[in-house]
Structure formats: structure tokens, C-alpha cells
Point group: C2
Chain length 454, copies 2
């Protein structure tokens, strides 16, 4: 192990150089004109996996961008870990706000600036390098390893779930390890063990069959905007709880231990509010801000529209009003069930005078990885050793849909060993990645392979 770690420490410059080459490829998955760059990036990943010493390396073409698969399976009786990552990146607009061109990586203050630096090229590259260190120094890996690197994460992974479903056997594993999330704070080893799911609906309220003049009709007909507002206002109770029957039925409550560990994290609600310039935070009574975001289901209007929205005054009673409403779900809520619950609830709330339509737009399962799972423990220990600090366990408020797919299709829990930072401008201009975390990540990954084999 010492040999491997020294090797990694001695090769840091080379790793950064290679990452720089990777970051030069403008692999923007949503952009038609970068289609060839997607192939180039996939080939880059495949080549590096071959160089690392993986025996099987395949590029699978899809209806969209290719999926790279690789494996090393010569550790019988040892568990198998699947590394997941994505080589595609977000668009670069507004490009004029970048201090240096997004695909010409620049190192400044020990951070590397480029689109994709932290999300997710820098993070996925960590595991290729740790595997390479093992194979070059020891000639074998202590566990079985698979890689699944896609090129469509930033556009919703349309071809990944079908690929997983079609290749369940090939992808079979005991756990998935993903580096695509954030450390809770710089230099603080962090495992994310829970993600929220989603149920997203659109409501359409129809009052009169046409737009009406509020002078000639006002007061005598149902106004769909007023009705919609009334419906929305009834979705929460006075304590910020979601007011839908059975909504909380399947929620796994936070354990005392979890709440205590969240409480120990350095997090200032005051600064959080100050940063957002809100005079007061708001949410479900009885829970802290971190608990509300990470471990409690929520309901938010994401959009609303109806009637006259231009400048000035138009006295119209619109025929229709619309809202988009989404609920963040936590384990073990089922988005299908929740969508049905809210749909029926809204229809029940609607007065007879209007027609209401509720359409499902999107759904995703929440996930939670047991804190005592072998892979979780191994990852936590590995980070602890690499960083020289105790690992913290957090959750995240957002969703990574593929994690739910791994859970349902491969029956494999995912360990989220993210090495990014929320402040690294992912999806914004001047994305960057702390090279210190890049290097600590490679060490963590190498130690993880060892710990996971024990």
C-alpha cells in the first residue's frame, strides 16, 4: 500500500497534465456541433482505461453519445465495485464571463479552471488513476472493478438506463462508487449517503371557456388564477408541513444519531439566510435547515402563469391558469404513489366551477445508502486515511437519477464519494477543481480498493 501511495504522490504532475488534456476536449453533450468531440472524449477515457491496465475496455455507441465500459475481474471471492462517472460537460454560456477560455485549462492558486474540471472529468479521472497505480505497482487489484462512464449526464442520461437494463449481468456489482458530489467543506472528507427523489406535476385550471373582460364578468365567474392560488395555498399547513393525506406515510424518519451528526457540522443558518438575502428562513417546523434540505420531503411551485403578464393594466379574467409544482422526496417515498396522491388531492380541492387537469412531468426515486454498508465504511475509512480527518456523513437535497437506477436495476447501493465543492461553479462560468482534492481523491480511491477487499 505504501508503494502505491508513494507512486501516486510522485505522479501528481503527470495526473494534472493528463487531466488538462482531458479538459481540452469540448465535450458539451447538449450541443450538436460538439458531436465529434463526444467521440473524442469517450476514446480518451477508453484509452486511459487501457493504459491503466483494465483488461476489457469497450466503447458502446448509443442513440446519443457513447458509453465507455471497462472491467478487471481477476479477484475471485472479492467484491466488485462499479465506478460511475460522466465525460460530458455543461454548455459554457455566458462565455464572456469566463476569465480564461473554458476549454483552455489554467491553473491558479492550486485550482484548475475549465469546463468539466469538477463536474465530472476531474472527479471521474481520480478512479482511473488509482486503478492504474495499483496495477502498475502491484500488478493486480484487491477487488474486482468495473467502470461505467457515460456522455449524457448533463442532458438527463436518456440512453443510460436502457443500457443498464440491457446489460444487467455485465454490470453486476456489489456496490457503486460515484465521485460527482461535493465535500461538505474544503479538506473535510465527506460521504453523501442520501439523495432526494422527485415528483413533478403541472396543473391546468380552466374557468370560463374564453378570456373575459373583468368589467363585464368580474365577480360572477370562477377566476382560474384565484382558484389556482387557493389550491396552492392549501398544500401546506401552518407548520410548513405538506397537507396531503398520507404524504409522509413512507418517510424514513431521521434517526437520533443522524440528527446529532448533522448538528455537529459547521453550518450557519444565519450566513445561509444572509447569502440569499432573506430576512428569515422558512420551512417545516421542528427541523433544522440541513434536515429540511437533506432529509425532509418538500413541495415548491417552480412556475406559475396565467392572464396578462405584460406591462401595465389589462382587465382580463383569463380562461386558464397554470402552475408547475414539484415535490422533493426522501426514502422510502415512491414518486409514482406521491404523484397519485397530489393529483387526487388537487382534484379534491378544486371547486366544481372549474376544470382541473394534473399532469405528471417527471419523477425520480429517492435513495439512501445504509451507513453500515461495507462499501460505505470502506470509503469513509479510505477518505479518513487520505485526508487525515474524520469523515462526515451528509445527505444531499437534489437527485442523481442514475443512483436510483443502480438501486432498482442492479440492486447495488451507491457510495457517493464526492470531491468537488459547491463553490466550484459547476454549471457556471469559471468552473474549477481544487487540485489538492484531486490528489487526495486518487489516494482515497486507492485506499478504498484496499479497504473494500478486507
Amino acid at each position: 500500500m505504501e508503494k502505491i501511495l508513494s507512486y501516486i504522490k510522485n505522479n501528481q504532475e503527470k495526473y494534472v497534465e493528463e487531466l488538462t488534456s482531458f479538459l481540452r476536449i469540448p465535450s458539451i453533450s447538449t450541443s450538436e456541433e460538439n458531436k465529434n468531440d463526444m467521440q473524442t472524449a469517450a476514446k480518451f477515457v477508453a484509452d486511459k482505461l487501457k493504459i491503466a491496465g483494465l483488461k476489457t475496455v469497450e466503447i458502446h455507441q448509443t442513440a446519443g453519445h457513447p458509453i465507455v465500459y471497462a472491467e478487471w475481474m481477476d479477484a475471485p471471492d472479492k467484491p466488485t465495485v462499479l465506478f460511475y462517472g460522466h465525460y460530458d460537460v455543461q454548455p459554457v454560456d455566458p462565455v464572456e464571463l469566463w476569465h480564461s477560455p473554458p476549454f483552455e485549462p489554467v491553473i491558479k492558486d492550486d485550482k484548475i479552471y475549465a469546463r468539466g474540471a469538477t463536474d465530472d472529468k476531474g472527479q471521474l479521472y481520480i478512479h482511473i488513476k488509482s486503478v492504474e497505480a495499483w496495477l502498475s505497482q502491484v500488478g493486480k487489484l484487491p477487488v474486482n472493478v468495473k467502470f461505467l462512464i457515460e456522455g449524457e449526464e448533463e442532458i438527463g442520461s436518456p440512453n443510460l438506463a436502457p443500457f443498464i437494463i440491457a446489460n444487467k449481468n455485465k454490470l453486476k456489482c456489489d456496490s457503486v462508487l460515484v465521485s460527482d458530489t461535493s465535500l461538505f467543506a474544503p479538506g473535510l472528507p465527506t460521504i453523501t449517503y442520501g439523495l432526494r427523489g422527485l415528483s413533478y406535476v403541472e396543473i391546468e385550471v380552466t374557468g370560463p371557456n374564453r378570456d373575459l373582460h373583468s368589467g363585464a364578468f368580474g365577480g360572477a365567474v370562477p377566476n382560474p388564477i384565484n382558484v389556482l392560488a387557493e389550491i396552492i395555498s392549501k398544500l401546506h399547513d401552518k407548520n410548513g408541513k405538506i397537507n396531503i393525506d398520507n404524504f409522509y406515510a413512507d418517510v424514513i424518519p431521521l434517526t437520533k444519531k443522524e440528527r446529532e451528526s448533522f448538528k455537529k457540522l459547521k453550518f450557519s443558518e444565519k450566513n445561509f439566510a444572509k447569502n440569499l438575502e432573506v430576512a428569515q428562513l422558512e420551512g417545516e417546523k421542528g427541523y433544522s435547515t440541513l434536515e429540511r434540505i437533506w432529509a425532509r420531503p418538500t413541495l415548491d411551485c417552480n412556475g406559475i402563469w396565467g392572464g396578462f403578464t405584460g406591462k401595465g393594466a389589462k382587465t382580463v379574467i383569463p380562461s386558464r391558469a397554470y402552475a408547475k409544482i414539484s415535490m422533493r422526496l426522501v426514502a422510502n417515498q415512491d414518486p409514482k404513489k406521491i404523484t397519485k396522491l397530489i393529483k387526487n388531492h388537487i382534484l379534491k380541492l378544486a371547486p366544481k366551477s372549474v376544470k382541473v387537469k394534473v399532469s405528471e412531468l417527471h419523477g425520480g426515486y429517492p435513495v439512501i445508502t445504509p451507513l453500515d454498508h461495507k462499501a460505505t465504511l470502506a470509503a469513509a475509512k479510505a477518505m479518513e486515511k487520505a485526508f487525515g480527518k474524520k469523515t462526515v456523513f451528509i445527505r444531499e437535497g437534489g437527485s442523481i437519477p442514475v443512483i436510483a437506477t443502480f438501486a432498482t436495476q442492479l440492486k447495488a447501493p451507491s457510495v457517493l464519494m464526492g470531491l468537488g465543492l459547491n463553490t466550484e461553479n459547476l454549471h457556471s462560468p469559471n468552473e474549477h477543481f481544487h487540485l489538492k482534492h484531486f490528489n487526495l481523491g486518487i489516494l482515497s480511491s486507492a485506499i478504498f480498493l484496499d479497504e473494500y477487499s478486507k
Copy 2:
């Protein structure tokens, strides 16, 4: 009187021919390219007033389109009536839905089809012809008459109120007579004696200082759309009453007599609902639909917007949400006072976690003309004689802002002797005017002058 009425009856063809010429002028006030046509239309009106025998006829240029003024003041000790009307018309779009070109009048089934036929060229022309009949047959008028015909009604009369204020003495009168409203039913003589006013505000709710990802923040921050919906939902109580302190304080309640006379009107709530395709009407408890529209103040959202309103699902918590809200007011509510009431009320409803701004967009005073006013009685009697049916008294839910200006600036009540019909497509393609009502209108106007002199 008989002589005058026969003269009118014998000249019906001539009147229609003249109206046809008037309707050929494309006097669209909002359209820059029709600027010269506005002058042509004003001149047409002035010429016809001269031909009718009015002694003073003036065209007043304004910052916008001209105002035509005329008077005949040789009836000392007799009251003075001011006829108000407008020669400008609405735009013609969508022009492809017209069955004949909007400025090439066509007569079909005793209706004349053209833009401006009922709103308001046909209706204003009535009074020019009645005055002409009097002066040509008798050589004088039984009362003093003034005409005030503007060219900017369809664009909000920006130059009329300043003109009235600057010419209070010139425009001094005992009553104003306006034909720019509708009969309650075809062939049914109708006086409109009340109009609603308006208070129109825009609300801006600001939550966090920027749009946020609902995954990373949902549940912990105030969502401005949810807050806005909550505010709107609290503006009505369960009985459809407006839930703002003192909102109803200045409302003149409907008299028993008014309610009875409304009840006698042939009006089917069932058909009204059916026509709008609503399963159920909605409004303030304890009032009929006509009462709600005509004589009760109301509150409606006219527009709402915020967050993501495109196709699909975007999990955003927006920084801001907006709504436009207007209240229709009834005598004697003061729009300034009401605007202040709602503003304070909304600020009081808003939770501390958000910033709320309420801006006044528009206001207008409600009006009510006493049913026992001399001019009201004369107009009702005149219509009754011309139509051969008892005149009904109705109110209207909309506003005609100039009527409030007459009330406040000239201290003159307005009698609304409308001869249009709600079904005559004013503001829509295929606007038309029933020639039967055009002719009955000229007779009514001629008889009115006589009745008003008594």
C-alpha cells in the same frame, strides 16, 4: 314634435348613407399610419355638426387626436345637455376573420357591418341627426346643446381629461348624454345608471436574491410563488366576500327597488354559465349574478407569473413572483382609498421571510346617476315613446372613465342611453350595428330634447 318625427322617419335612408361615409374613414386611434384619417374623421364630424345647424363648431388639436366641440345655446332658462361620443375605432385585427372589409360597410339583415358601427360612430351620429331634425324643422332646439366628440377613447382618452379641466366653463352643462353602451336586449329601451370603478395593483414578491435549485434549497427558503398564492387566497373569505378591512365601508347598498327591478329582467344564469362552459357560477354569497356584476365590488387576479413557465420540468425556486390584481368598485368607493387598503393589507399578510412591493397601476371612480334625475327621467320617457316599450334601468360592470371625469369636473350626471348590443362584436371582427336601433336612437334623442325641456 310630430313633424320632427316624420322628418326623421322619412330620412332614414339618407342617415344610413351618411353613416356609411363616416364608417369608411379608418380612424384607428392607436395606429400611427392612420393619423391623417383621424383628422378626416374629426372634420367629418365637425362638418356634419355645421350642416345640422350648430352655431359654434370647433376642432381642437391636442397632443394626440383632435377633439370636436360644438354648441347651440339659444334656449335661455332651459337646461343644457352635453352629448359625448368618440369617432375613433378599435384596430381591425385579426382582419382575416372579417366577412367583408372593415372599412367597406355592408348592410345585411338590417345590420350595418363595419369597424366602429356600434362603437361608437353609429351611436354618436344619432344625436347629430336628431339635432339636425329639430333645427331644420323647427329652427331651434328646446334645450341648450353641446357636443364633445373625442378621437382617443379606444386608447384611454389621454387628452380628454386635460381638455375638460381646461375648459370647465365652456363645457358647463346640467347633464351629459352618452350613447356608448348596450340595450339589455334587442328592442328593449334601456338606461344604464351605474358603472363600476377600478383599482388595479401589481404585486411583486421577492424571496431569495436569485433563482435557486429546488434540490439544493427546497424546503429551507421562502418560495415567492407559494407565498404569493397564499396572499391571494386570503383576499376572499369563504363566502366570496373580499377579506380586506373596511373594503365595503363606502359601498352604497342596492335598494330593495333596484334588486326587484333587476330580478324582473329576463336573464338566465343557467344560460350565462352554459355559454361560458362553467359547471357552476361563483361569486359573493347572497347576490344574484347581475347584482354581482353590476352593483357589487369584486377582486380578480388578472395575471400571475413567476419561475419556469416553459415546456417540461425545471426544478427552480424563483427569486420573484408577480401578480396583477384589480378590484371593480361601486359607488361610493374611492379607488385611491381602496388601493391604500389593499396595499396595507397585502403587506400585513406577507410573511417576514419575503419582500413585497405593491404598485398602483390604474384607478377609476365608480359612478351612479340618480334614477330620479331630470335627465334620466327624460331619456327613459323618450326611449319608451320611441320604442313603444317600458324602459328598463340597468347598471354595467365595466368602467367608462370619462363619466367619472364629468361627475368630478363638471359636476354633471351622465345618462347612458346606449343603443348597441353586447353581441355586436365591438372590439372583434365583424362589428355591426342594428339599423333598427340606429333609427330608434335618432327618434329617442329627438324626443329626449323635448322631454328634457319640460
